[in-house]
């Protein structure tokens, strides 16, 4: 009986840790899903731009001793600028119905941003300051990381703000209009390119926050994080349903918890196989993900 209780505590602790860490995946997933919902295209350079923003924030910390709030702010702004640049360079001039060329161009963007980071940092991992890094709540047999709770809360707030912008402002209205029917939107006087670039910038802000939070949660920034984060972000966006923001959030938390549980029971070698199998199951049995599309395309 004591063994069972012990296991129970361990497993629920594992799930909790996974859920909290999953909020970083959730934010990256929201970014992917936002762009897909708005343009029907996948931006492979998204996670790279998010981490690029985190590096900019770190530069602020190292060079001008910026306080942490400012570091997050710099990350958000830098990632928004990167997001806008990616839109301009990889999506703006490519014909709208050519998905493949845009995909390939954004892959080029991913390579480029990664190499710039490697060049500037010589590939060295760099320590990233954390907010509430020393806070550790001990509730009974459980231990909960204060900084992950903070990440979770910031994630919720950011998504709330995003949803507000999307559904309660003119800008959000324009974004949704372009996403649903860009010809009609143009006829109404909405600039498709300017709206899309703003969408990329907003997704960039989210990405910068996600990048900075992930870096703060791990404590270290390194270019090796880019590809795994890209893959995870896409998996989360797909499981949540491409285009659905609430879907991406729930899927992010779910994937975070799921992979932690599998790590606990089956070890590292099989952990990723299970995540991948999970994805496969979703794709085969529920191709529209958890919530289908919230911003639909004609």
């Amino acid at each position: 009986m004591e063994d069972f209780w012990y296991e129970f505590v361990e497993v629920t602790q594992t799930i909790t840790d996974g859920l909290l860490f999953g909020s970083t995946y959730a934010l990256i997933g929201v970014g992917f899903t936002l762009i897909f919902g708005a343009m029907g295209k996948l931006n492979m350079a998204y996670a790279a731009a998010a981490l690029g923003g985190a590096y900019a924030g770190l530069a602020g910390f190292v060079l001008i001793k910026a306080p942490l709030v400012l570091v997050f702010g710099i990350s958000a702004v830098a990632a928004a600028v990167l997001g806008y640049a990616i839109y301009f360079v990889c999506f703006r001039f490519i014909p709208v119905n050519n998905h493949l060329a845009a995909l390939m161009a954004s892959v080029g963007g991913l390579f480029f941003i990664d190499e710039v980071v490697v060049h500037v940092t010589r590939g060295s991992p760099l320590t990233f300051p954390s907010m509430f890094g020393d806070v550790f709540f001990e509730i009974g047999p459980y231990g909960i990381r204060g900084d992950l709770v903070f990440v979770f809360v910031i994630g919720l707030i950011s998504t709330g703000i995003l949803l507000y912008i999307l559904f309660k402002t003119r800008l959000g209205l324009a974004t949704r209009a372009v996403a649903q029917q860009d010809v009609a939107a143009r006829l109404c006087g909405i600039g498709v390119h300017s709206t899309n670039s703003v969408t990329f910038a907003i997704a960039g802000v989210l990405g910068g926050i996600a990048g900075a939070m992930t870096a703060a949660a791990v404590g270290v920034l390194s270019p090796v994080m880019t590809v795994p984060l890209t893959i995870k972000g896409i998996i989360v966006a797909v499981i949540g349903g491409l285009g659905s923001i609430p879907g991406a959030i729930i899927a992010g938390l779910f994937v975070g918890a799921f992979e932690n549980v599998f790590l606990y029971f089956r070890g590292i070698d099989e952990r990723d196989m299970y995540v991948v199998a999970l994805l496969f199951i979703f794709l085969v049995f529920r191709p529209n993900g958890l919530f289908g599309t919230a911003i639909t395309r004609d």
């Binding site: 361990e10 602790q13 594992t14 840790d17 996974g18 860490f21 970083t24 190499e115 490697v118 060049h119 010589r122 590939g123 060295s124 991992p125 760099l126 320590t127 890094g133 020393d134 550790f136 231990g143 990381r145 900084d147 992930t214 949660a217 791990v218 404590g219 270290v220 390194s222 270019p223 090796v224 994080m225 590809v227 795994p228 984060l229 975070g256 932690n260 790590l263 606990y264 070890g267 590292i268 070698d269 990723d272």
Partner: protein, 423 residues
Amino acid sequence: MKRLFKGVSVGLLGCALMFSALTSSADRSVKVLGWGAQSGPLKSFGVNSETALRSAVAEINAAGGVKLGDGTMVPIEVIGYEDSACKKDQNIAILRKTASTTDAIVAMGTTCSGACQAMFGVLQKKVGDASDSGLQMPMLADTCIRPGLAKISEWAFRNVPNEIDMYDALFAWLSQQHPGIKTFSGGTETDQGHSFITHTKVIVQAAIRHGFEWVGPAVPELGPKVGQGAKELQAATKTQHWLMGDTNYSVQARKIKKQNPDMVLVSSHPFSACGFLKEMKRQRVKPKLLVGLTSSASQETLNGCMKEAEGIIIPTGFAPITPAAQKANEIVSKAGGFLDLHSAAAWENAYLVKAAVEAAGISANPDNLAEDRAKFRNALAGITAAEGLIGPVTRNAEGEASKPYVYVQVVDGKWKVIHDPRG
């Protein structure tokens, strides 16, 4: 605009073809070509090795250069340092390029163990075996540290520390210094060949051999002999595994906390080592001793987690503790690189090349290239002892080195030599 772009790309293509057709200069010199990771996350290794190599060669040339078979003194020329990006195909391409389009008598580098393994595989296995169409090009590696690579080919040589000896001696010393330390546990990154192999086959074994008790999950076959199956040891260390790009170490750290070991091994490269160390700190895991992987005895670890790495002990093949080492350290730092156990080997290799060239009596004449390379290889194989930066280096019949080492520890945010077993 489109035409301009087209013109630029055609021009670029033309330049590329022209450059790749250029051959090396006509002045007599002993030519070497190096390569390493100059892009990608391991970029610092390539940068440091290149800086060390070029600096050492500059020193040799300033002192007069090397003596050829006919008695003339000529400089060593590093005709290039290429970027291999740690990719096997690129490493092999550069090796073949060096062998077939340049006059280099030896290839030097490269960074990644997996890439070395592939490259050594395309070399001729045994010298003089006419049925083996492998490349006949001497290769002197400074970083590929995974155990047992040089025996893949007689043309392959390495100047890397022998991790088996180093960890064995380290744990012998630790067991003397810290008699109160009994139990140990630890983790490694499983998708990085060097870390995983060294952790499971070398470090854990050495600790057990010197009386420390493994408190990870029990495995009946766990024993003191090196060479035991990796899968068995993997089973033993199952829950303390992570991947080199992982961002969440909570499960692993918590398991170690529950085991409450006196000593923790963190056998991985700086990024995941730092991620794991930070997680251990968050979970209030405070082992009495921390031991790390050789490749992490570097500036990168300090960049990534100076505070959390405080106290970690690593055996390393380089520290500025002799006049030669200090001088080299100064020169390389001024040139923009760092000397650590890997790049210091690159420096030493330059001097090893000088010794081999002078023992071989080569002509440095492009017409005798194959002969020169064969003579160089034989001479290099014959050098069983050389002077390294912190002491004498010996070499065995398989082309593997046995190097002196010291133990370093992070103290107050800097690497400090805490024990010098060189005697």
